[in-house]
Symmetry: C2
DNA sequence: CTTCATGCAAAGCTTTTGCATTTCC
DNA sequence: GGAAATGCAAAAGCTTTGCATGAAG
């Protein structure tokens, strides 16, 4: 588990996410790296993104009905996803204190973590919609 | 959009979710219905589950890295997903008031809705893990 | 009779996996 | 040199889609 090897590819994946400065999908990372390292495997990118998330170097933002995203922000925070284009961005909101304590009937479940996910429409898509209406 | 036809299949799908009394996946609904209506199409089930969710008759619980679930509970509530078996159940927790108001910098995004999703380990899987350790 | 939904199969998209080869320690 | 990661391709899992046929209004 903890005995992981340091490989070039793992560094490449990590640095790619740092350089891209967005909430990137695994495929975006793969395409990004393929330019300079054409032999890198998609499986390797997926594997390393997950490993890096487990290790805490990256954060995996799970997206239903779409590709998962990865980012580098270390502080805990929430995300909003545009229902039109699917873009994910950070939400500036304090964490809700003691959220786990509010759970009453647990059905015997051990609660481990939670995530709040928002949906909305980003400025770019809002503009596009306006234009379509006026067009 | 709003001019939808009432079809037998749509009723079947709705009733199936009501009868199954769980957070069911589209495929589970399909298998359930196929017993009595062997010619029903998987696409039809998917289409009607989405239509019924849009209409408010069902609630779609989006699950990353897994099949989406549908249930009938009309009151707003939250969900917890077992990280071992993937089962989804309701969480008994009051809604958090004014959650949307807590958002500070919106980057110009129009916020529409939010969802809180918990992760945990269900009693059944916890037992299984214990047995494996002691075995 | 026109339009929409169905059934079926195929394709789409994201992710995982099997395996020979290479790399790391 | 032994174990683990890679690259490649194939498969898996969930969902959507194209199209001819059939049902609804």
């Amino acid at each position: 588990m903890t005995n992981r090897r340091n490989t070039i590819q793992k560094d490449l994946v990590k640095n790619a996410v740092y350089e891209m400065k967005r909430h990137v999908t695994a495929n975006e990372v793969y395409e990004f790296l393929k330019k300079e390292y054409p032999t890198i495997g998609k499986g390797t990118v997926y594997r390393n993104l997950d490993i890096l998330s487990e290790e805490g170097a990256l954060r995996k933002v799970e997206v239903p009905d779409g590709a998962n995203r990865f980012d580098i922000t270390l502080k805990n925070h929430y995300h909003v996803r545009c229902i039109k284009c699917g873009e994910v961005s950070d939400v500036d909101m304090e964490e809700i204190p003691d959220l786990m304590k509010r759970i009453h009937d647990t059905h015997g479940i051990d609660f481990l973590e939670y995530d709040i996910s928002f949906k909305g429409i980003c400025p770019r898509c809002r503009e596009k919609m306006k234009e379509e209406q006026n067009g």
